[in-house]
């Protein structure tokens, strides 16, 4: 069976796996973005808390994903829970870091001006600081998503959902005629998803980055 026949025969299974992969990455990214930006907002004002958050997140990032999943399995079992927790945790890191960097990079004069025209703390954050910090945060989201695509594939070893299952099935049946097809389909579809998400973020950037700071 060549690769194209394989794709034709299995397209239903492939579509399900692709959908699940995209869906788990997307949902974890939404969770990670919300939590990450909240952590950023909570910590960027204090030097100490900000560097704590950055240090903690980058320490977490050095932990290999397979080991993280391995540590989660005794606590939450196999399947979707360890996948979702691990993906959300890893997804947080670039977002926390970039929201702190972005929020701290906002010109203090602009914040002063916002205070001066009578904006409350919340309004200042929502209407001045976050829109100005949004481009680096969006970059963090893009970086996270790309990373999560790969980690989600590894999480399939702990019975997680998605395209990683194809790759691991291929590894388990090394030597069989379908091994290459499975691994190749899994890998290429993950790359394709990553590129599609990336294109999506470029579009989101176009639509959401405030016109005043767009280059």
């Amino acid at each position: 069976m060549n690769f194209w026949e394989y794709l034709g025969n299995r397209h239903q299974q492939l579509l399900i796996d692709t959908y699940q992969h995209a869906s788990v990455v997307f949902q974890c990214m939404v969770a990670a973005t919300v939590i990450g930006v909240l952590i950023g907002v909570a910590t960027y004002r204090s030097d100490w808390a900000g560097s704590m958050a950055t240090t903690a997140t980058s320490t977490l990032l050095t932990i290999p994903s397979l080991a993280m999943i391995g540590l989660l399995i005794p606590i939450v079992g196999l399947g979707v829970p360890p996948t979702v927790i691990a993906l959300t945790l890893y997804g947080l890191l670039p977002i926390v870091r970039n929201s702190i960097v972005g929020l701290r990079g906002v010109d203090p004069a602009l914040v002063d001006a916002a205070t001066g025209i009578g904006m409350s703390r919340v309004a200042r954050l929502a209407r001045v600081e976050l829109p100005l910090a949004w481009p680096p945060i969006l970059t963090g989201i893009r970086v996270s998503t790309q990373m999560l695509m790969g980690i989600a594939a590894i999480a399939a070893y702990a019975s997680g959902p998605g395209l990683g299952n194809l790759i691991f099935r291929g590894i388990a049946s090394l030597g069989s005629s379908n091994a290459l097809n499975q691994v190749l389909a899994g890998t290429l579809l993950i790359i394709l998803l990553a590129l599609l998400f990336d294109a999506g973020y470029v579009l989101i950037g176009r639509l959401t980055i405030s016109r005043g700071i767009r280059a």
Binding site: L61, P74, I154, T187
Partner: protein, 308 residues
Amino acid sequence: MSASSRRRTPRERRPPGEHEAKGGLAFRDGDEDRNRDEHSGGDSGGGGAGKGAAGSVSSAADASRVTWRKLTLLPVVLIVLLFATWLWFTQADLDALSENALSDGQVTKALRQHVVLTVISTFFVLIIAIPLGILLTRPALRRAAPAAMAFANMGQATPAIGLLALLVIWLGIGRRAALIGMIAYAVLPVLSNTIAGLRANDPTLLEAARGIGMSPPGVLARVELPLAVPLILAGVRTALVLNVGTATLATFGGGGGLGVLITTGITSQRMPVLVLGSILTVALALLVDWLASLAELLLRPRGLEAGA
């Protein structure tokens, strides 16, 4: 990203005398927040430099203090972690399967394999990525750099496990496939780090070096590379940390390493084996990162200290 580089402009509007300090600040920041450049670099060509500069908003004095505190904190945490694991292990009752997976020095063997895989792959990553980075920033080849970076970004989207599996199918099971996969996976971030580092050099310094009659190799060896040392060291650290991580996947290609314990633990549902493998991997990753950050602090050129 272009929007983000716009964001740097307030920082660049410095008093005329402070230009040298700018480079120092950006570098310092680059190695304090170690993994940022790796990831932003993967995202878009000049991204690493742009965000490094944006990040230097946090005070530089703070940066070194935090690094030193972290340097003393981490070994303590690691010792406590390993001691707790050891205590737990002397208590845990292991059944035959777990005993079997952990006996005969298999844990030490896995640990040694893991370290060897990491060291070898890091060595090759560095001798490939750094010269390539230097080549791609030379005027003659500078035009090839965007294409190379675009290719690198595509490569970053490739999942490590898929790459490894393809190599195993192509080259057969064994350490060679695992090593090639690890190297291919880590070359790209280090390459983009090196390129970003060399590009971030203050052009006026290069101009000055040329002005006092240095040849192009002289400028490279005595000005550009020393200035880029912090970012190159950050690249070394990135490579090490990435390789410790991908080395856990080597087990899927028959390459050994601590991943063996983790996968055995998962497939045979033996939590002690799984937890021991995971904790050792975590400890090794943190230790490697700690050693690399120590190296960054010690090897940083003295001239860059003065700026901050």
